[in-house]
């Protein structure tokens, strides 16, 4: 009788996993088709809106770059220099010192010759932690730089302070430790110039990994694949996520997440929705969903778009510890956001977002780590109970593994075909090998981090952003022979 019950559970789980896996694979294949179409379309469109045309124009929207900085003393001077050297006719840069306890502010004051200016009457449409002082440079060449010194309130709060102070149509939220491509703003503003029947509320672009590359004067001088396996696998993961995932969503106007490290937003809409939510660690996804909800509620046609080009480079976690912390935080952010907006679930009022996009995120983004974890536990239990047909299991595992390899290989193919970042045979082979090792080495770590994050949310374990230890770009890696 007991064996029958286990067998019954075994059957139910088996068919559930099969069904879930089939849906996921079907969605991935659909994503490949969509993203390929989207990348091609973007390439064709780009021919008719070249950055050289925009750089000389005078009527283009002005942009403010907002970069929160918390204890970034090691890299802040270099990074600000990089952010000040972008190609765009009209842009301001706001560095928000979010209560750093190191010498971030002193370094900025010293290097950029900053002086405080009267901020008695600065308006703050979005409430933030206390702003202590606002600084501007005495030097003409840094006139577009503003530094806001405020009490610590977290990244979202710092971004909100920057949005309050910005006086431009568009704001680009980034991290002070990101390296932005010189022509990134010119490319990012394109969708805002081209659209006329739908309002662009947010625009994102692909983010690349820069570990072990050579950065000089805030510019990527030589892009290299990371030496270590963990960040190298993340290169493949980012290529797949941005090229297959986000581009596919962009094609059907289903983008809900514009990465917090690099996102361009319409400032008026940001103020209308009260900026970033300071109570979640998944502030970028939460903002994306809230912006979409707002636009649905006020019934203004809108779009959130993604560009396939890699316009921003960041350092990925180098060690397993830091990677787990990062994925734990992302998982908590996802959990919090899904919970905050649970009213969207199959809600027809929000049209496609309520009926498809949000349920997708619920089932396949939030749900996937849980399903994988349950699958792993089931494997152990059913092995003990002797219910596993190992012959079939190994064949099934091989099929799923090959499918995963195919998805990664196609992503790398699309990347190699359209972009020239990793163009040598050696680099492509390394990327492919990293992709094929991913399910064995990297993926279990991800699931562990994600499940840890969910555990913390379910059992109310308090946890914040965690310390993301970075090497920084200043120490140039040794030249390879």
């Amino acid at each position: 009788m007991e064996i029958d019950l286990y067998y019954y559970i075994y059957l139910v789980l088996k068919y559930f996993f099969l069904f879930y896996g089939f849906c996921l694979i079907a969605l991935y294949f659909f994503a490949i088709l969509l993203s390929n179409r989207s990348v091609n379309r973007n390439k064709r469109k780009a021919r008719f809106l070249q950055v050289n045309d925009i750089v000389s124009a005078t009527d283009i929207p002005s942009i403010t770059l907002i970069a929160p900085a918390f204890n970034e003393g090691r890299t802040i001077v270099e990074n600000v220099k990089s952010l000040l050297s972008l190609q765009y006719p009209f842009y301001d840069l706001i560095i928000v010192n979010d209560g750093s306890t190191d010498n971030t502010l002193e370094l900025l004051i010293d290097k950029y010759d900053l002086e405080p200016f009267d901020s008695t009457f600065i308006t703050q449409p979005i409430p933030t932690s206390t702003v202590n002082k606002i600084y501007r440079s005495r030097k003409l060449q840094y006139r577009q730089l503003t530094v806001i010194d405020k009490n610590n309130g977290g990244k979202s709060d710092a971004n909100n302070a920057g949005i309050n102070f910005a006086a431009t149509e568009l704001v680009l939220c980034t991290d002070a430790d990101c390296i932005i491509e010189q022509d990134a703003l010119l490319k990012m503003v394109r969708p805002y110039l081209e659209e006329f029947d739908q309002e662009i509320v947010a625009c994102g672009a692909a983010i690349g990994i820069i570990n072990d590359s050579i950065v000089k004067n805030g510019v990527v001088e030589k892009l290299r694949l990371p030496d270590r396996l963990i960040p190298m696998i993340q290169v493949v993961e980012y290529i797949r996520a941005f090229l297959l995932g986000r581009m596919a969503w962009s094609e059907i106007n289903g983008v809900m997440l514009v990465s917090g490290a690099f996102g361009l937003y319409a400032r008026n809409r940001m103020i209308e929705v009260n900026g970033f939510n300071i109570h979640t660690v998944g502030e970028d996804l939460e903002l994306g969903i809230r912006l979409r909800k707002h636009m649905e509620e006020i019934k203004v046609p809108y779009k959130m778009v993604y560009l396939p080009e890699t316009l921003c480079w960041t350092e990925a976690p180098n060690s397993i510890d830091v990677l787990i912390k990062q994925r734990d935080r992302w998982a908590r952010g996802l959990w919090e956001t899904m919970r905050l907006h649970k009213d969207l679930f199959f809600n027809r009022k929000y049209r496609d977002m309520g009926l498809f996009y949000y349920p997708y995120w619920m089932f396949f983004e939030l749900g996937a780590p849980i399903v994988e974890f349950v699958g792993f536990l089931s494997l152990i239990v059913f092995t003990i109970l002797g219910l596993i047909n190992w012959n079939i299991a190994i064949l099934l595992f091989t099929s799923v593994y090959l499918l995963g390899c195919i998805f990664s290989t196609i992503s790398i193919f699309i990347y190699v075909k359209n972009f020239k970042h990793y163009s040598t045979g050696k680099e492509v082979v390394e990327l492919l090998l990293a992709a094929y090792l991913e399910p064995f080495i990297y993926h279990p770590i991800l699931v562990l981090g994600q499940v840890q994050g969910y555990y913390k949310k379910i059992f109310g374990v308090k946890s914040g952003w965690g310390n993301m230890d970075r090497k920084g770009f200043q120490a140039l890696p040794k030249e390879k022979q």
Binding site: F48, L49, A57, F413
Partner: protein, 353 residues
């Protein structure tokens, strides 16, 4: 049975994986080969141009020889990608050369292949080829195709019609304002910017006759375009056109009006008009922009205007007004206001108690 199906599936997936590998390898090899081929075309073309522009003494450029040379590097109708690359090279060269050499090159390009390649693209069904053809026509200054471009100005594809409109501006200059304000379809910000920039680059002396005729258009995109032209050419005498849109009900039109007006200094009467319209704007951000502009161009502080805002505006406007008054020597007025607020609050609190 299940095992057999799975084995078959694995074989199939392995095949797909192999095909994908092959595609990557092919792409990389092809790119390498193609780069070499393009380099060859580029070198031949550079050589042809330099010999044509600066021939050796007592040697006339031989067109037959040039045509042979181009054919040898793959410029033949059966290789359209090579032909396209040559056209791109021609455009790039023409863009970077001025004066007599520009005319000479233009003559050369009409005498060597490809012949009529850009014009033939106008009949292509694919939008990106059609739009590319239009771009090549205007980049290479082939004004004989203006009529064809005029026909495409309302094309259903945004890129085709945009390129056609830019082409019309390049070839007709200010006369193009006979068409542009009366288009059937909406014009994006980029189209407007590009038109204004082209007018400024190629026809720097404004032709007010054509511009003022366009004032009759009631299409919002046309209003925005005209405002941008007035701003770009700094047509102070036509600033009234912009002022009328300051409190337009349409957000984008208002936005363009506020942006454009901020390049001008106004007369006292115009300033009064702006202040009147200020109250009709229902967007605080736009009001703030306008308020900063009013303060910037005013020779003296209009105390009654600012006090009205200080006592009757919304919180953000009040704060900005206080900022302006405080920094222009009217600290007492600001203090009075806040004292007044404080006593009012105190009174209301005592009543509620």
């Amino acid at each position: 049975m299940e095992a057999e199906i799975l084995k078959l599936l694995i074989k199939f997936l392995l095949l797909v994986l192999l095909i994908t590998f092959g595609s990557i390898a092919y792409t990389m090899l092809y790119r390498k080969w193609r780069t070499r081929r393009l380099k060859l075309i580029e070198n031949s073309f550079a050589n042809i141009c330099s010999l044509y522009l600066y021939p050796k003494p007592n040697e006339k450029p031989n067109l037959i020889e040039i045509q042979r040379e181009l054919k040898a590097v793959g410029i033949v109708p059966s290789k359209p990608r090579n032909v396209q690359y040559l056209i791109d090279l021609m455009i790039r060269t023409q863009r970077s050369i001025l004066g007599v050499n520009y005319i000479k090159l233009k003559t050369l390009f009409t005498q060597i292949p490809p012949y009529g390649a850009s014009a033939s693209k106008l009949n292509n069904k694919k939008w990106y080829i059609k739009a590319r053809g239009i771009r090549e026509i205007y980049e290479m200054d082939q004004s004989q195709y203006t009529r064809e471009l005029i026909r495409l100005r309302n094309n259903k594809n945004i890129y085709v019609r945009r390129e056609a409109q830019i082409g019309i501006v390049i070839f007709l200059g200010w006369k193009s304002l006979r068409f542009l304000p009366y288009l059937k379809r909406q014009m994006t910000l980029w189209q407007q910017i590009k038109i204004v920039e082209k007018l400024n680059d190629l026809y720097p002396v404004p032709d007010l006759k054509h511009l003022r005729r366009a004032y009759n258009s009631d299409r919002p995109y046309a209003n925005e375009l005209i405002m941008r032209i007035i701003r770009k050419f700094h047509l102070t005498e036509d600033v009234a056109y912009i002022i009328q849109f300051i409190d337009n009900p349409k957000f984008e039109t208002r936005e363009a009006a506020i942006y454009c007006i901020s390049s001008f200094l106004l007369s006292d009467e115009q300033l009064v008009e702006i202040k009147e319209k200020f109250k009709n704007i229902n967007n605080t951000e736009q009001q703030l922009l306008l308020l900063k502009y009013i303060q910037r161009i005013s020779s003296e502080i209009d105390l009654s205007f600012y006090k009205d805002l200080l006592y009757n505006g919304n919180d953000i406007i009040k704060l900005s007004t206080a900022d302006i008054l405080w920094n222009n020597g009217f600290k007492e007025e600001v203090q009075d206001y806040y004292y007044h607020q404080y006593t009012q609050n105190a009174d209301s609190e005592s009543i509620s108690v």
